[in-house]
Symmetry: C2
């Protein structure tokens, strides 16, 4: 029997991150979930679209809002493979998302090092499948370095 | 003779803010300028698009990048009628924009109250046509209150 736990959905986010990897994008992936149902997916497309705003989370917020027909994600959980940056955390603030679950920490660009506020309603869990997410990121940067 | 100074371009941003006002959106407008030429315009569309990411600045960053065919706005000036929020400031960080000029302060949601970092290369000027921008925002919220 399939258990729809945080690891299950983070694996789906990792599948999205793999798609980014295969396009030569920094591999970050995301899914947005309501009541165990995925309503939005996204992966980083900043290089493909030439657009710094095309982070996985931003696309998924737009897609989830489109699905719901409303701009607030108050009953949604976001699973993302890397700690959001200040832009994405700022967008999550506006969305009033109920849960943010992320895998790997981003020591350099993660929102927690800045003073960015998530919405007070947002509960945060970190570290779910962090090793897998970090390994994918490391593999990306090693391959990129070897190509240059 | 037309002088292409900060007030000139902020008036263009205010024209965009008026468009938002006329759509029932919180009136914030923006233009992006390279060498005295406007390459992107935007106004807040969060209600129209049901999307918290549809702030004027975010749309203008995407449009300017599209115009330039590159994701960095290193030679661009952004004129915006309200101090950017943490999401938009986070996006501006990634864009490495050279200049940010804004009109009204946002005491509640402006990026300066949070710990958000702009890019070290970004120079900031505030207060250009601040009274006009604030008056438009006040008019919007008064009309909205009277309608409800």
């Amino acid at each position: 029997m399939q258990v729809y736990d945080d690891e299950y959905f983070m694996r789906k986010a990792l599948d999205e991150a793999e798609k980014a990897f295969n396009r030569g994008e920094i591999p970050v992936g995301v899914v947005v979930v309501i009541e165990d149902r995925i309503i939005a997916r996204g992966h980083n497309l900043t290089e493909t679209l030439n657009d710094v705003t095309a982070h996985a989370e931003m696309q998924a917020i737009t897609a989830a809002s489109d699905f719901l027909g409303g701009k607030y994600l108050t009953n949604c959980k976001m699973y993302v493979t890397l700690e959001p940056c200040q832009m994405c955390a700022g967008a999550l603030y506006w969305s009033q998302i109920s849960n943010l679950i992320f895998a790997a920490n981003d020591q350099q660009r993660g929102y927690r090092k800045t003073g960015v506020h998530l919405h007070p309603k947002t509960k945060v869990i970190s570290g779910v499948l962090a090793e897998e997410a970090s390994a994918l990121l490391k593999r990306f940067f090693i391959e990129k370095r070897n190509l240059n």
